[in-house]
C-alpha cells in the first residue's frame, strides 16, 4: 500500500517537474536561511556550565553616582543594571563572607615568559589573577597537578597553573609540575596544568570578548598588589570623585575592574547572601559610598547573566527573525503551489475515487507527496546551509594581530558556525513541519472533493 502511494506520489511529482522543483527550492531556501541563522544563534546561546547553572552566581553591586546628566546612561542599553564588575575594595570585603560555598574575585592580566635561551622568542600569556576556588568552582579539569589554596593567595606563593596550550608551548606538553617559570622578572613554580577547557560563551568574564579562549596562565590573587599587576579589561570609574591616577588610587577609588562569582547551591544561602550584600552597602552608605538611595545589589545565575549582557548579539537575533519570516513566506508559497497542483490533477483523484479509493486513501497519497517535497527541500536546504556555514567559517579564521597561535581558538571560532547533531534534527523537523504545514490543507481539500464533480466536467 505504502509503496503504491509512494509510486503515485513520484509519478505526480514528475508530471509537473517545474512546479515540483519550485516547491523544493522554496522549502530548501527557507530551511537553509533558517538553519544558518539558528545554528549561529544556538552556538552563541550555549550553556557553558549547565550542570552548575543553578549554583553559580555573578555578584554585582552598584556604587555609581546617580546619573544627573544622562550623558553616560544613554550609552548603556540597560542603565538600571549595576556595573558588570566590582571595585577592589568591595571584592576584598565580600570575600570575607563565609556564606558562599566557594567564591572568586579575579581579573585578567598579561605576563611574558622571557626567552630562556638565546634565539628563543618571548611568549606572552593571557593571565587570570584569581583566588583559589576558581578551579573547583568552575569545574576546571586538570591534566597534571592541582590548583592552590587560600593560604597561597594570602602569602602570596610563587605558584602558577598553566593551560594545556601554554604547557605545550613552554614544556612541549610533558608534565611540567615542579618546573620553574620566569614571568617578566619573577620566578614561579608550576603546580598544575589544566586540560582543554573552553566554556563558550566565556561567561566568567565578559570583558575581552565572550567568544574567546580562557587564559593561559593562572596566578594567586595576592600577586595583584605584590606586583602591582595592571588589568587587561575595562576599568570603569563610576563616581565623579573617583581619583584616577596610580595603582594605589585604583585600589581605593570607586573604579570597577574585578569579576566576582559566588557558589550558592541553596536558596537559604542565596537569601542570606543577598541580605549580607544589602547590609554591606547600607553600612558603606554611612561612610559616604553607594550614593544611590536604593540598593541595587544583584546575584545573578549564569544563564540570566549571559542574557542580561546580551552575549548572543543583536545581529544574530535579527538574522534569525528575518530567516524565520522567510521560511513562513516559503511555507505559504508552497501551500499555494501545492493546492494549485493538486486541484489541477483532481480529475485523476476523482477517477480513483470512482474506482473505489476512499477519502483516506486519496489524502494519504497526497500527504506522502507533500512529505516527499518537504524532505527533498530539507535535504537540499541542509546542503545549502552547510555551504553557507562553510563560507562563514572561512571568514571567521582570520587571525587577530597580537593573539597567540593557539589552534583551539580557530576551532572555537569555527564551532560558532558549525551544525551539531541537535541542529541536524532541528533541520529535519523544520523540513517535515514545513512540508506538512504547506500540504496538510491541500491534501485534505483534495480528499474531501466529491468524485462526481470531476467526472462531470470531463
Amino acid at each position: 500500500m505504502f509503496m503504491h502511494d509512494l509510486r503515485l506520489a513520484f509519478l505526480s511529482l514528475r508530471r509537473n517537474p517545474i512546479l515540483t522543483a519550485l516547491m523544493v527550492i522554496a522549502i530548501a531556501a527557507g530551511i537553509a536561511a533558517s538553519m544558518i541563522t539558528i545554528t549561529t544563534y544556538h552556538a552563541r546561546s550555549g550553556h557553558p556550565i549547565w550542570w552548575k547553572a543553578d549554583k553559580l552566581y555573578a555578584v554585582t553591586l552598584d556604587p555609581r553616582d546617580p546619573d544627573a546628566n544622562g550623558a553616560f546612561a544613554s550609552l548603556q542599553r540597560h542603565p538600571e543594571y549595576p556595573p558588570l564588575q566590582v571595585t577592589y575594595q568591595d571584592a576584598k570585603a565580600l570575600y570575607r563572607s563565609d556564606i558562599p560555598t566557594r567564591a572568586v574575585m579575579m581579573f585578567r592580566a598579561s605576563r611574558v615568559v622571557a626567552p630562556r635561551k638565546p634565539g628563543e622568542k618571548p611568549v606572552a600569556l593571557d593571565t587570570r589573577v584569581t583566588t583559589a576556588d576558581f578551579f573547583a568552582m568552575f569545574d576546571v579539569p586538570f591534566i597534571y597537578g592541582t590548583g592552590w589554596s587560600r593560604a597561597d593567595d594570602e602569602a602570596p606563593s610563587p605558584v602558577v597553573v598553566l593551560s594545556r596550550y601554554a604547557n605545550q608551548k613552554l614544556f612541549a606538553g610533558v608534565n611540567s609540575v615542579g618546573q620553574t617559570l620566569t614571568l617578566n622578572d619573577k620566578d614561579f613554580r608550576v603546580i598544575g596544568v589544566i586540560d582543554a577547557w573552553n566554556p563558550t560563551p566565556r561567561f566568567y568574564d565578559l570583558n575581552n570578548g565572550s567568544f574567546d579562549l580562557p587564559e593561559n596562565l593562572y596566578m594567586p590573587f595576592g600577586w595583584t598588589t605584590a606586583l602591582k599587576l595592571p588589568n587587561n579589561g575595562n576599568t570603569n570609574c563610576v563616581r565623579a570623585n573617583a581619583q584616577v591616577g596610580g595603582f594605589e588610587a585604583l585600589l581605593t577609588s570607586d573604579c570597577v575592574w574585578m569579576q566576582y562569582w559566588a557558589e550558592l547551591p541553596t536558596a537559604t544561602q542565596r537569601q542570606k547572601y543577598q541580605a549580607f550584600l544589602d547590609n554591606y552597602t547600607n553600612e558603606q552608605r554611612r561612610h559616604g559610598r553607594f550614593p544611590r538611595p536604593v540598593n541595587n545589589n544583584r546575584i545573578v545565575d549564569v544563564d540570566t547573566w549571559l542574557e542580561m549582557y546580551e552575549v548572543v548579539g543583536d545581529e544574530t537575533r535579527i538574522q534569525v527573525a528575518v530567516a524565520l519570516m522567510f521560511l513562513l513566506v516559503c511555507v505559504l508559497n508552497t501551500f499555494g503551489l501545492m493546492l494549485a497542483k493538486f486541484l489541477k490533477a483532481a480529475p485523476i483523484s476523482g477517477l480513483r475515487r470512482a474506482l473505489g479509493a476512499s477519502r483516506i486513501d486519496i489524502m494519504r497519497q497526497h500527504l506522502i507527496e507533500v512529505v516527499i517535497v518537504g524532505l527533498l527541500g530539507g535535504a537540499l536546504g541542509l546542503v545549502l546551509a552547510k555551504l553557507g556555514l562553510d563560507a562563514m567559517r572561512a571568514l571567521a579564521t582570520r587571525p587577530i594581530p597580537g593573539q597567540d597561535d593557539n589552534p583551539a581558538r580557530v576551532a572555537l571560532q569555527q564551532s560558532l558556525s558549525s551544525m551539531d547533531t541537535q541542529m541536524f534534527f532541528v533541520a529535519l523537523a523544520l523540513a517535515l513541519l514545513t512540508g506538512i504545514l504547506a500540504g496538510l490543507y491541500p491534501a485534505w481539500r483534495i480528499g474531501r472533493l466529491s468524485p462526481s464533480t470531476f467526472l462531470k466536467t470531463q
Binding site: 546628566n69 553616560f72 606572552a124 622578572d185 596610580g246 538574522q319 513566506v329 508559497n333 597580537g402
Partner: protein, 416 residues
C-alpha cells in the same frame, strides 16, 4: 469594469488569493524593515574615519624586563621610525583608531560641573581620550580646522607608575569639532579651557580637528566616538603602541622593515602586534558587512519567492479557466479586457496584502526599535515598499495575463 464578477470569481477560489496576500504582507514587513536595518548599517560602515587610513599602520612593543624605561625607549623609537625611508610621521599613542580599546572620561567647560557630588550635571560630555606624543595629530593625518597640533614642549615625560599615565597630562589639548560644538555651541572653543573629570586636569584647547572617528559603532556611542580629546603625554607601560604614517605606496615596505628591526632597538622586549590601519578598520566593520550581506540575500529571496507565488497563482488560474476565458473572448471581450482583468485581480490581492503588510511592518518596526534601540522606521520606506510591491506584482502577473489574453475564442467551442 467587471469588478463584481471578479470578486465573485476570487471568492469561489479564495484560498489562493488569501495565500498570496499573506505572502505579500509578510514580504512587505520583512523587506521594509530589512531595508532600513541594512541602510543604518551601510551608513555606519561607510562613515569616514577622518584619518589617513590607507597610509597608516600601528605596531605594539611588549617589554618583559622590569628596568624597561619608556622615557628613553619611546623617544628613541619615534626617532628611529621617523628616520626610516618612506615614513612621513610617527607618534606614540595609548589608543589606536579603528583598533581595540577605548578610554573615556567626562569633560566640561566648567570644573565645578565635574566635581559635583551626586553625579555629573548638564554641560558634561563623555569623550574618548588619546594620550600621545608630539605630532600625534600630524601622524593621524586628521584635518585641523583651527589652531595647531600640540607642541613638543607640552608632551609630558612618562609617569613613574604606568597606571598614572591617564592623569599625566600636558597643559594643552586638541579636540574634535564634534566635541567642541557640544560644549561651546557658539563655535568659540579655541583658546578655552577644557576640564576633564576623574583625572581633574584643565588644559587649553590649541587645535580643532574637523572630524575623526575612533571606532565605527551604532547607536548613541557613535556620537561619543567622534568626540575625541588628544592629550600630549608619553604613555608609560610595558606595552607601547606606535602609529606610523608612510608616504603613499610605501606602507608595506616600511612594515616589513619595522617587523625585522624595531624590537631589537631596545633589550627586553618584542614586537607583539602590528597591523595596517586599513585592515583594522575592515575588521571593525566585518561583522556588520556579514550582517548586511546575510540580511540582503534573505530579503531578496523573500521577494523572489513571493513573485514566484504570484506567477504560480496567476498561471494556475489561467490554466483552470481556459474554457471560461475562451467563452468570454467569444462573446465579445477584447484581449485588453482579459489582460486588464488579471492585472486588476492581482492589483487587488497585492493591495490587500500590502495594507495588512503596512500594519505588520509598523508593528515589527516598533518592536525592533524598542528591542535594539533603532530609530523608528521612517514612513518613506513603507511607501517605497508598497509601490515596489505593486510594480513587482504587476510585472509578475504580466506573462500569465498575456497568455490568458492570447487564448483563442475558438477554445470555447471545443469540448475536452
Amino acid at each position: 469594469m467587471e469588478i463584481r464578477a471578479l470578486l465573485s470569481a476570487m471568492w469561489r477560489s479564495r484560498v489562493g488569493p488569501v495565500l498570496v496576500a499573506a505572502q505579500v504582507a509578510i514580504t512587505l514587513a520583512v523587506v521594509v524593515n530589512v531595508a532600513y536595518i541594512v541602510k543604518l548599517r551601510v551608513d555606519n560602515i561607510s562613515q569616514a574615519t577622518g584619518v589617513d587610513v590607507d597610509n597608516l599602520f600601528w605596531v605594539a612593543m611588549q617589554a618583559y624586563v622590569p628596568d624597561y624605561n619608556p622615557a628613553v625607549a619611546t623617544p628613541a623609537d619615534i626617532e628611529w621610525l621617523r628616520s626610516l625611508p618612506g615614513v612621513a610621521e610617527a607618534a606614540n599613542s595609548n589608543l589606536i583608531p579603528q583598533g581595540f580599546g577605548t578610554t573615556i572620561l567626562p569633560v566640561s567647560y566648567d570644573a565645578s560641573l565635574l566635581a559635583k557630588e551626586g553625579g555629573f550635571g548638564q554641560g558634561v560630555a563623555p569623550a574618548v581620550i588619546y594620550l600621545g606624543t608630539a605630532r600625534l595629530v600630524e601622524t593621524l593625518g586628521v584635518k585641523l580646522i583651527a589652531g595647531r597640533g600640540f607642541s613638543e614642549a607640552a608632551v609630558q615625560p612618562p609617569a613613574a607608575d604606568g597606571r598614572a599615565t591617564l592623569s599625566n597630562w600636558g597643559p594643552e589639548v586638541v579636540i574634535t569639532k564634534n566635541l567642541a560644538d557640544k560644549l561651546w555651541p557658539k563655535g568659540d572653543a579655541l583658546g578655552k579651557t577644557l576640564h576633564t573629570g576623574l583625572v581633574n586636569k584643565p588644559a587649553t584647547i590649541v587645535g580643532l580637528i574637523e572630524y575623526m572617528q575612533h571606532q565605527p559603532v551604532m547607536g548613541p556611542a557613535a556620537d561619543l566616538f567622534r568626540s575625541i580629546v588628544m592629550v600630549p603625554s608619553t604613555p608609560a607601560s610595558q606595552r607601547t603602541a606606535y602609529l606610523v604614517r608612510t608616504q603613499p605606496g610605501r606602507r608595506d615596505a616600511v612594515m616589513a622593515r619595522v617587523e625585522k628591526d624595531m624590537a631589537e632597538l631596545q633589550p627586553g622586549r618584542y614586537l607583539s602586534a602590528m597591523e595596517a590601519l586599513a585592515d583594522s578598520a575592515e575588521r571593525q566593520r566585518a561583522g556588520m558587512v556579514t550582517s548586511v550581506v546575510t540580511l540582503g540575500v534573505v530579503a531578496a529571496f523573500v521577494v523572489l519567492v513571493t513573485v514566484v507565488g504570484i506567477v504560480g497563482l496567476a498561471a494556475f488560474t489561467v490554466a483552470t479557466r481556459t474554457k471560461q476565458l475562451g467563452t468570454r473572448r467569444a462573446i465579445g471581450a477584447t484581449k485588453f479586457h482579459i489582460l486588464r482583468y488579471f492585472l486588476v485581480e492581482n492589483w487587488l490581492i497585492t493591495s490587500v496584502g500590502a495594507l495588512i503588510g503596512c500594519a505588520l511592518a509598523i508593528a515589527v518596526g516598533i518592536k525592533l526599535s524598542m528591542m535594539y534601540r533603532l530609530p523608528q522606521l521612517p514612513l518613506l520606506y513603507l511607501v517605497g515598499g508598497v509601490v515596489a510591491l505593486w510594480l513587482l506584482g504587476l510585472l509578475a502577473v504580466w506573462l500569465p495575463a498575456r497568455r490568458a489574453a492570447a487564448i483563442s475564442p475558438a477554445t470555447a467551442t471545443r469540448t475536452v
